[in-house]
């Protein structure tokens, strides 16, 4: 029986093969909802918070998820291995560093707000 990942933000769900990380499962199905970056637990754009379900995390960069956050269910989808159905909220964003349509370089909030750290 396959595991289902439910993404709360867009009220969408997709299956995840056993042993696969959530981001890879999403990408393999051509689905969207979680931003895709390095796929290596280093950049933080795929940051999520697990609201319900069993899982384990592979090694993630502490610049993206602190020990305290990890204890509160924050994770990186590219390092998140479900061990049953999961409900997630997507936290990470592609911080738009450049907006050509508005003719210039844009700072999105303060440096800390523009970063993926929360």
């Amino acid at each position: 029986m396959s595991i289902r990942i439910h993404i709360e933000n867009c009220d969408d769900s997709f299956p995840c093969p056993e042993g696969s990380n959530v981001l890879r499962a999403m990408e393999c199905l051509g689905r969207r909802g979680i931003p895709v970056g390095c796929r290596g637990g280093g950049c933080g754009v795929c940051k999520v918070r697990v609201l319900a379900g069993e899982y384990r995390n592979e090694t993630i960069s502490r610049a993206c998820v602190s020990v305290e956050e990890e204890a509160e269910g924050y994770s990186l989808a590219c390092k998140l291995i479900p061990e049953g159905d999961l409900r997630l909220r997507v936290i990470g964003k592609m911080a738009r560093s450049f907006d050509a349509t508005r003719g210039g370089f844009h700072f999105y909030g303060t440096p800390s707000a523009a970063s993926h750290r929360s």
Partner: protein, 310 residues
């Protein structure tokens, strides 16, 4: 003009989340060779055509990203002169000497922080252990190469806030030149600077971005577009995380592909570009043409390429 002063990017030191996975990536996928390990557990590597002892340093840490980049200068006299100028400038902060031998086969290094928050080093000595083909009647390339097998570590692209300060430090103090730039808006604010200390289109590049001390990529040189395509095959064969490419940059004209190491640090391998001379005018790109400036074929801005850093 003979090349003097700062000669080249000599090393890049990267933080990785799992050392053995990283060593596997940089040796089997990228195709560098491991040349040493030290008591701190750092791993030193080099590309096949590099003469000096090492050019890439990996350190296991709980965050990915770049620790520092090092620049080889032509002599001790140059090192002392540049250090005096850096010490006297408000642009260089957290200045410190690192003792000879802290990196294996390497002399004293002077470390400082630049206005965009990155740590940089200058050094004048590193033992020449030789390239893989030697210097007497050499073959054009060695046997036993693995992975993409670049000939050298070439440059880094870094993100930070005070681009003006960093460009001033590199041009006014370290003697770099501005080969290419990107400007934005009616006030033509400089948002990217491609700096050269040599005959290359860039030895380091910086992008203006609100966070300090961010790492976009470390790049390695291949011999041809065909080798870039083969690198793309290797990325799929070895199930490496692909970022973008193969494609061509408008900026610097390089033929390129981007991918990530297992800790999420971005790598590039590239070929081509042009030879830069000190009398070449600076090339300027405007933000309305940023699509083809960055990816000449696709001509579109790519959010992941622009936003994903470690």
């Amino acid at each position: 003009m003979a090349m003097t002063g700062v000669l080249r990017p000599g090393h890049v030191a990267l933080r990785v989340l799992d050392l053995e996975q990283a060593v596997h990536h940089y040796t089997e996928v990228v195709g560098l060779s491991e040349v040493a390990r030290d008591a701190q557990g750092r791993v030193f590597l080099k590309a096949w055509d590099e003469a000096d002892h090492h050019s890439v340093v990996l350190r296991q840490a709980d965050e990915a990203g770049m620790d520092y980049m090092g620049w080889r200068v032509d002599s001790d006299a140059t090192l002392d002169r540049l250090v005096a100028e850096l010490e006297a400038s408000p642009l260089a902060t957290e200045t410190t000497w690192i003792a000879a031998g802290e990196h294996p086969h390497t002399g004293r290094r002077f470390r400082f922080t630049i206005p965009t928050g990155h740590s940089m080093e200058l050094y004048a000595h590193r033992d020449v252990t030789g390239c893989a083909t030697g210097y007497l009647n050499p073959e054009p390339w060695p046997d036993g190469l693995k992975g993409m097998a670049p000939s050298r570590f070439d440059h880094c692209l870094l993100y930070g806030d005070d681009l003006d300060g960093t460009v001033e430090l590199f041009t006014r103090i370290l003697g770099f030149n501005l080969a290419e730039q990107v400007v934005a808006g009616p006030e033509r604010l400089q948002i990217a600077a491609f700096l050269t200390c040599s005959n290359k289109a860039h030895d380091v590049a910086f992008i203006r971005q609100p966070m300090k001390n961010k790492f976009h990529h470390a790049s390695f040189l291949l011999g041809s577009w065909n080798e870039v395509l083969k690198a793309a095959d290797i990325i799929s064969k070895k199930k490496v995380s692909l970022d973008l490419g193969p494609t061509r940059h408008g900026i610097t004209r390089g033929e390129t592909i981007y991918f990530f190491d297992p800790s999420g640090n971005r790598n590039e391998v590239f070929a081509g570009g042009y030879i830069w001379y000190p009398d070449k005018p600076t090339i300027t790109w405007t933000d309305d043409q940023l699509g083809p400036a960055i990816f000449y074929h696709d001509r579109k801005l790519n959010e992941a390429f622009l936003s994903v850093v470690t």
